[in-house]
Each structure stands twice: as C-alpha cells, then as structure tokens.
Symmetry: D2
Subunit: 358 residues, 4 copies
C-alpha cells in the first residue's frame, strides 16, 4: 500500500539498488501528449551519479527504457511502464553489511518490520529508488509545460552557508550553471568548497532545497484533507533524507504578527492579486495564482567514509568499516528529485480540479 503516489496521475514504483533495475508504472497520464524522450533522459542525467566532483564517483548510465503506454511518440492514456536497468554493481562490497545495522539507515527498521531485507546497497531504501520519480516527474513537466506551469528547485543552503535572499532575487536559469545547483553564483562557490572539504574528511553535510512553481492557475488543492501544501509536504518528505518542509512564510513567519503577514488583495491589470506573497501561493489549501514556493530540509547522508560504531543483528557491538563510493552531500542530485515530486503533485491536482464542477 505504499509504493503508489498520486490520485489521478499515479506513479507505482519498484526496484532495489542491486536488483535488476529501478522502474515503475505511470497511470493516469493524459492521453495525447507528445513525449520528448531526450528531455526525459536529460532530466535523469541531472540525477545520475558521477556528474561532478561533488557527487559519488560511481558511474551509471541510467538510461530509461519505456515499455508501454506510448504509441508513435504520443501518450495513449494507457499505463506507461518503464525501467532503468541496474548495471554491474559491486554487490560483493556489501557482504559485510549483511549482519550489520548501519547507523541512521533503515537496515534495522526494515529487518524488524519485514523479517528480511535485501542488504545490498540498501536495497529498496537506496536513493536509486528516486530514479522512478524523476522519470514520472519529467513526464509531468511535459504535460505542465502545455498549460504554462513551470517547476524549479535549487540548493538554498549547504551546512551553514545559506542564501539570505528569497527566490525572487534570482534567475532560475542560473541554477544549472554550477554543480551545486544554486542560482547565487557566489554562494554556490562557497557551497562547493564546503562540500569538497567535507568529502575529504570522509564526512557528509545537510542543506535545504527551495522549490518554486510558476504559472499555476487558481484552484488547485482539495481541502480539507488534501490541501495543496499538505500534498507537497507529503511528496517532499517521501524523498530520502528529507527532514522538514515549509511553504510561504514557513517557520520564520511564526514570529510575525498578522498585520505584518497578511497578504493584502489588490487589483492589477484587471486581475485580483496580492501585494505580498507570505501565503506562498496557497490560501486555504488552494492555489491562488501567485508563485508557489517552499523549502525542504535534508539531513547529512548517513553513509560516512569513516569507521562508525554500531551493532550487528544479534545486538553485539561492532565497527562499520568505511567503504564504497558515496555522495558527501545529497543536495545537488536532490534538486531534480524535488522538482519531479512537485511536478507530479501539481499535475495530479490539476487533473483533480477538473472534477470540481460538472
């Protein structure tokens, strides 16, 4: 009951890190959309390992193979199956993990819940699982593009290095200009330096990603239980290592007074709009036509290139050796995943909103 996301537009995913591949079934994708396969692969490439010195040195091609639902390059309304085959992994690397619970990983909880786990590379809990999200997100973006909705995300904090200005101060086209995916090019350099330093120390570091959705029409969100921001929170917190979500004024806004935070309605060019946007584009759980923006917190990756104290399956103390090839910071590769989950959510709620009136 857990590997399907969405109401109308739905992704059902499968696959483990060291199994045959990562894939899924996308159901409810609107019929008649022209599929740009190069675009989808380009999105996957933004997520893949080995793309810069900031990420793991593992090399994986991550080519997506579509299995159904597309005919002569156009979506048919039938389910879109797809798979990204896993390449030759060094499964042997993981034999030592068979009986060990890695700190702050899901080895212990999976073992307890299911009585069994595929320990090779984290199995189902590996971030390779997010491949299926990026594929579905790329399809969603193709559909959203047709109705003028654009989804962006960028790294807004790495460790203590934090963008002080909000998204309106940046050019979204600058995001891809550096490896850390930060539109503030000067902060980006600081972030890169920090990540490289952390990497050298065999350690890891957390950060935040900011998401921005432009061009979203009024009326998306299904209160009271499927408010648009609740759906976005659910989407974001389903991503590996995510620890927090806020939208609009978020946690900082709690110190404000209502008289400071309320977004005054005004009329501009004949349209009702708001003077400020502390609401983050969502009021009462429904999009109000302004930009939607939110921030997601990611913890430092749990896999360190250092020895760590832990216990084995019998509860005996042991030492986890430092090996494998891992990212020192999840942020740069998580940017396309945040975008993907946002796009999936927005398309789903766009389709849902079509049912509000006869």
């Amino acid at each position: 009951m857990s590997n399907t996301f969405g109401n109308i537009f739905r992704l059902t995913s499968f696959g483990e890190s060291h199994g045959k591949g990562i894939g899924g079934v996308i159901d409810g994708f609107p019929a008649g959309i022209k599929i740009d396969f190069d675009y989808i692969q380009a999105e996957l490439n933004r997520r893949k390992p080995g793309q810069s010195s900031l990420t793991t040195a593992r090399q994986e091609d991550d080519k997506v193979e579509f299995l159904s639902g597309i005919f002569e390059g156009v979506s048919t309304g039938t389910p879109i199956g797809f798979i990204v085959w896993n390449e030759d992994q060094r499964s042997g690397d993981y034999d030592s993990m068979k009986d060990i619970f890695r700190p702050s990983h899901a080895d212990f909880t999976y073992q307890q819940k299911y009585g069994i786990r595929d320990y090779r590379g984290g199995g189902r809990t590996s971030a390779r699982e997010t491949i299926s999200r990026v594929v579905a997100g790329a399809l969603a973006k193709l559909a959203l593009d047709q109705i003028g909705i654009k989804v962006y995300a960028y790294t807004s904090q790495v460790g203590h290095i934090k963008l002080e200005k909000d998204y309106t101060s940046y050019n979204m086209n600058d995001i891809e200009k550096n490896a850390v995916r930060c539109p503030d090019l000067s902060k980006a350099k600081e972030m890169e330096a920090l990540i490289l330093k952390i990497k050298e120390e065999g350690d890891t570091i957390g950060g935040t990603i900011t998401g921005v959705i432009k061009g979203c029409p009024v009326g998306l969100g299904e209160p009271v239980f499927e408010k648009l921001h609740a759906a976005l929170a659910n989407a974001m917190l389903s991503i590996n290592a995510a620890k927090g979500f806020e939208y609009g004024s978020g946690f900082n806004g709690v110190e404000q007074r209502g008289s400071e935070q309320n977004d005054v309605f005004i009329t501009e060019h004949g349209y009702i709009t708001t003077q400020t946007n502390h609401s983050g584009g969502i009021q009462g759980g429904i999009s109000n036509g302004q930009d939607i923006y939110f921030r997601v917190a990611f913890k430092p990756i749990a896999t360190l290139l250092r020895e760590q104290q832990t216990v084995d399956m019998e509860g005996k103390e042991t030492v986890l050796a430092a090996k494998g090839r891992h990212d020192p910071c999840v942020l740069p590769r998580a940017v396309p995943i945040v975008e993907a989950m946002a796009a999936i959510t927005i398309l789903d709620y766009y389709l849902l909103a079509k049912t509000n009136r006869l």
Copy 2:
C-alpha cells in the same frame, strides 16, 4: 476526494461554521474498544472556544452526539457517525463579508474554485472544522492507549518566545497546567503575556507546537511513498494555519555533519536502541521504537480586530471592518488538534502494519 483522511482508520468530515453542525464518519475503527464518552468530551473541551482569556470570547458548548457504530458502550466495527451541533451563531455578523475577500483567508480561492462559497464565518474553511478531527483523535487515543502508545503536544514557541530545551527536559503532565499549554511554566507566563498584549492591539501572532509520541512499536510506516513522517507531515499541514513541519533534527540538523547526526546503535537491556535520537524515532520512514517527535509552524491568524485594506468580488478596493470575536493566537487551541491528527495517523499505520506479514 478531499474530506476523507486515512487508509484503514478513516475520518470523513463535513460541516460549516454556520451550518447545522460539524460532524463526520469514522470508519475502520477496531471492533471491541470500550468507548469512554467523558474522555472524548474532555478532549473536545480542550479545543472549544472561551476556555481562557487567551482565546475568543465566543461560548460554544460543542457537545458531541454519536449516531452509530457503538453498541452498549463498545465499538462494533461499523462506521461511527457523529455530530456537534452549531449553536445560535450571529450569522448576521457576516453579511458584510458576502462580497469581500478577507486577506490571507480562503474566500478568494474557494470562490474561484467552486464559483460559490458559504461566506458565513468562513464556512467550510473555519477552524470549527477541526472539531471532527478532535473527536476522531480521541477515539484513536482510546485505542492507542490499549497498546501503550501515548500522544502529546505542547506550545513550544509563541512569536519570538521559544523553548530552548527539547521535549525530554519537560514533564508532559505540566502541559495542561497553563492556558497556553506549554510545559515550561516560566516561558508559559511570557507567552501568555505576549498573547494578551497582541490581543489588546487587535493583532495576532504565530508560533510552533511540538508533538511527541511515546511507546510506538518498531515497524510503523509504509515506504517508499507512505513513510511515517510523510504521513505525519500531511496530517499536520492539513490543519488550518499550519505552514511547516519538521521531525527529529529537522531544519536545524541541516547544518550538522553526518558524524554528528548519525544515531549510533547500542544494545541496552538486551534490546537494540540508539544512543541519540536525531532521527526522531523514524528511520527510512519506519518507526524504530524511539520517541517520535516533530514540530509544526503556525502562522498568525488572518482575522484581525483592525481595519484592513482589501478588494471585493468585483476587484474594487474596499476596507474590511474589524469585528467578530476571534483568537489572537491559534496555538493554545491547536494543541489538542495536533495531538488528534497524530493519534489518527499512528492508529492508521498501526493497523496497516498488521498486513505486512501473512
């Protein structure tokens, strides 16, 4: 598709602020649970208006009437219908709101989405809607109590006044000792003073609530898309005025390194546990047996006792007059709502986890 919450244990709610009442149907509640009606009413009383000088002066009894699903004081496994009748509201008060969009309320988005809205007291968007959550939450708590799970919440920040220590420093039994529902009795006094000052100024203020779940067994949570923390985020952000959610180390943890944040496994009294709990009791989306804790941000209430600039349905500028009786701060009355949504979520995932093995 929006007024039902949960997978197995499900609340479907209905009702508007100035309609006949607020109620719902609770489906999937386990059979055979003894219903403590006094307890449920006591929970509702924690939410009702007029309970202290910090809340609105409106007086509503909010007595719950159960309509089905309980036989001779015991749950039968059939749906539990219930209603809290609205008392004589001053609907006339709201005639002036008919054609006006109140800033940072949902008047505009509802009107656009549905083409019609019940403007009296905010209609469906009123926080009176949360009555149904508290009823369902009280039932969930009765069930959770039988399996040793306890759910707590408390006010951890009001405006700039913030608890510096985490939940382990406080006695959960102190929460109800003051009107603001804060277990730090000295901070509580500061918070109360601030709220009263804000109230006098006709303004409002935000804050945060911390939730704590104790006694949760290992194994709750259904990755990859229904991770336990994603479900809690979804639950919390469905509450009126909520703007953010974090669990465990949350947003602050992003500045940490992995070597600081990882929770080392140890064996204690023959059980595997963790030395620290930055994970917030959830690893890989599954409860690990430690305390679950999280924090929810609430914005200042949008209704002010001050005049505000806005537009009417034609887009013409107008002034929203200051009237009605409203809370200056949502926090004190939101504490039982946070607890309720947490209890509903935990019971739902407890039942789901029963299906993981044959």
Copy 3:
C-alpha cells in the same frame, strides 16, 4: 475501509436499523448544482416502507435532513452531510434475537468477524442502510439530468413470472404505475398477486431488476480494472440480497456465436453507432454511446413469518419465532436503490473521464 463508495463522487455512509439514524457524507459532488429537495424526498419515499400492500406495514417517515454542503439551495463543492432519523422502533422486539443466528442473515458472520454485533433489527446489516444510497443517488440524478443522462430501473422478474421482452419494448414512464414497479402492466398484476399469496403464506420470494441508462456519452469507464460494467457490478452487488449481475447479452449470450452477437458498426445521421446492442452500451469497459442495460438478481428475503430451525451463539439448536413486520419481496423497494447505485456510479465515472486528457 468499507463504508465509502466511489472515486471522485463518494458516499460514506453510517447508521444502524435501531440506532439514532441512517446518514452519510457525500464528497466530490460538483459545485454549483441547484438542489431540488422535494425531488430527493420523493426518491426516498419510493424506498420507504408502508407504501403499498406489497411491502412491510412498518410506517417510517424517512425525512432527510441535510447538514452541510448546500448554501442557499446550491451545492458548494464541500461535503454534504445528511441524516434520516430513526423513529421510535420496537427495539424490544429484538431481544429474543440477541443470542440467535438467523438463517441466511449476517448475524453469524458479523459476530465472528467483529466479536460483537448490534442485533436490534439487524443493526448495520438492515436494508435501512440503503437510505443513504438513495439520498446520494438522488443528488447524482440531479447532476446527471443537467448532462442529459437518465437512469431507470424496473422489476423484470418475480419468482417464475418473468418479462419475456427486453427494455426497448416498454415505456419507462409506466414503471411507477403499479406497486411492483414493472412497466409490463399485465405481468405486473401477476407479480402482485404472487407476492400477496407468498405473503399470506409467511414466505418470501426473489426476482430480478433491470437497469437502463440512457444518454450516457461515449468514454465512461477506466479500463483495465475499473471497467464501467465492473463498477456497475460492484455497485449492484453491494445492495442487500443481490446475488448476480449481468449486462448486455449477459448469461444468455454465452450460447450464441460471435457472428450472432457482434454489434456491427454503422453510420446513422452522420454518427457512428451499432446495429444491435448485445454489448449493453459498453465495449472494452467503456461506454459507447448506446443505452446501457443490465440485470440484477435478488434472492428471497431471509426473514420469514414462519418458525425456522437454527442455533444460538453457543451452537445449541433452537427455533426462531416468526415475528416482526417484513417485506415478502425485496423487489418493489429495491428499484430506487438500483437506480441510485447506477446514478452514483455513472456520475463518478463521468467526473473521472474529465481527467483523461489535459
């Protein structure tokens, strides 16, 4: 997980025969529909007991009270709560049933499944539960009326008395002209006579109801698992005492050859249509624009006005006395229920189909 029906347009129902009332929450009803309260009550009156000599002598008014979701006579898109209060029942009548399992009722299965049951009048298993379906169905019909879809049902068989001709031979306006709700006025008389004879004997009799949906546009149905006829089957078999469902050529068609049964496509008045309609208006699980028709089998009611052999909760043999006031045949009152479930299903799939393209 069991008292909610539908995907977008959803009914969640509650209530027991001898509890406070029968009601529900209707979610996903399109906003902006004018509500004809007299029509809804008239539909309920078609279901209520005591309307003719063919039905139980019990007198219940069954007045529906709407609790939310309607403002100034128009649906608002928010959930529509409603209740039909139970009137003074002779609960005492049922004390003798406390420890007895009535043959072919659900006493035994509810007791085993839930460990407890409300035995008064069958509790949740009473056909009074269908009140909520008729209310939701009446609302659905109001919406379908606006798009030109009409739903009909009639009694097509009582015991061995069976209409030999299909629905195209009858005038749907004749259905309500007799108490048995059969448009063949001569057969109707035979059916009535049979029912009265059976009643006198303290026995009961089964029959079939035919459903017809006219004006349904092409494109409703969501294959491969939510084919329109599968959804109708699911809807019909959720009705008390239903034992079978067939659509189009149904069970009789299995003796035919493909060359006899295939519906040849032709062009008429510029539109593609079919020469025959053995498909019952549904091809590949999707409506094809022709009339949809189906047939539902109902078993004889299990409650007899005769003594019956049975066992008590300890498994001891005992005799079930003949008392109470019951229908000798479920058919006449089941006609509006079949219509209601068909209308609910069609509206739901009409709304779903809006999401097939961007």
Copy 4:
C-alpha cells in the same frame, strides 16, 4: 486511475499486445513468503496460447522475469516488479486495422475516449493484458496455500453444453485432464467437439466458468460497500469478454422461496455450520467458512475468421477481412485467469480482515 487492483495486496499492470511486453508491480505482498518460480511459470503456461488445438496457433513462450521484491527466493515486502517480454509479433498484420473499428471490440471506445489508440493487436485491450493477472494470482495462491485456502475454476458451459450438476459432484483434480478444463470428462468431450466445429466455421462461442474457493476462514469481506461477493464480481467483470457474475444460488435462486433458500444453521463436530449452502459461502458480504462458489459468463470472442461489415474512422462502410490467429472460445484459457483474480481478491481481503480488531 484504472490499472491498479486491490486495497492492500495490489496489482498495477501495464503493457500492450504488440509493445515491448506485459508486466506489472505487485505491492503489499506479505514479506517472508518463499517464491516457487516453477509454479508461477506453470500457471502462466496454463494461460499461454498454442497449448492445444482448441486455442490459437500463436506460439508465445510467455516467460516471466521478476525485477524486484524477491531476495534469495523469498518475498521482502517491497514491490515485486515483473515483465513478460512480447516476442516477435507480426505487427504488419494489423496495418489494415489502423483505420477500422472492429465490431464488438474496444477500438471505437478507446479512439473516442483517448483520441488515439495502439491498434496493433488490440493494444492495451488485448487479452495478453491478463498475463499480469496470472502472475499476481500465482503469487497470491502461494500465500493462500500457507493458510489452507485453495482456489479452483473450471469450464462449466460452452455454448448450449452445460454441466447440470454443481461443483460438489466433481473432483477438482480432474479439471486439468482435458484441454477445455472441465471436470465432467464426458461433457468435456462434447465441449471440445463443439469448439472445434465452431473453429472450422470461422466462428466463436461463449460459455461460463465456475469458481470455487475452499478453506476460506470466516470473516473476509468489508461491508457495506466492499462485500466479498461484490469484490469478486468486480474482479471477474474486469476480465476481457466477461458479461455476468452470480454467486451461490445466483440468478436461478430468484425463483425460489425464502423457506427453500435459507441455509439453516446446525452444529457439527462442535462447529456452527449450515445445512445447505445457497449463500455461496458469503452472508452479509462476509465469508461464513463454507465453500465460496460463483459463476462467470463469457461472451463469444469478437474476432472472427470471417468477413464482417463495419465502418472506418470516417464512418464509411467497409469490410473487415478475416485474418490472424485467434481462439474460437475464450473459456479454456480463461480458467487460470478466473482463478488468478479470485486468489488476488481473497488474499487482499484476508489481509484487510487483519485490521478489524486491534
């Protein structure tokens, strides 16, 4: 919203007749089940074409490849992805169908609903889609086997040749002893002869399949909307060419009186049971511990080896040529599909029932 089946145990399927393959994702399969791959393949072989002179001459190997969710031969609780690759099809055969609507097929409805269709071999509407059901069903049977539940199906009617006796008169082990899958070996010969004759004539014929579930415990089924028989009806009518469903006394029982049809409770060997089983093992929508039995009607296959009159996409009259290799009767190969859908449903409701009590 249409290619997922089930609540807890869920199959999401994909694939077209002439695409890359047919596959799916099985979610919610209990962890810890040993997977017998040979058994699963053997089940698929019962469905595959070319297995006897009664079926199409097409030769397809239909080997299933599992992609995830199984580790060292045991289910892990994570989603089980799988695919059966399509082999070299004669897609060219179908070019002539590009612009034609085949009678009683779904060409017209798919084209209208989605504005596009994969016309090669029927695309998504091909019965090859049922491969994914047989894979999921085989897994379900492996789980059900561990709790003593057995699922059977057999051909009970072909054209006018009908078994007069019910399932209790036959040995379920005789089903596989003939190509038509009928446990009445003498009737089986008649059926085979009829099918071969029909085949020679280039025509097709319908029939019925009877399903039997033995060893089902009391308590499966979630009334009032997810009654066990409603779930079975929904499952069966989702199968290609299915036109009707009945369980227990079904359509024939409508001529009976209550005094004939009621199943009297008795005590046998200390257990409460029923003297007869007209209820078909389900009372009030919940299994009562007796055998569950039902019957499914299948229409004659729409593809004929004869010329047929039809129209093209412009509505112009045209003649559909007779070509391709097709089954003259769906029954023999539908038997394992009926079993599969029954097994999927029963396992799903078995898991659901675990949540009825704390």
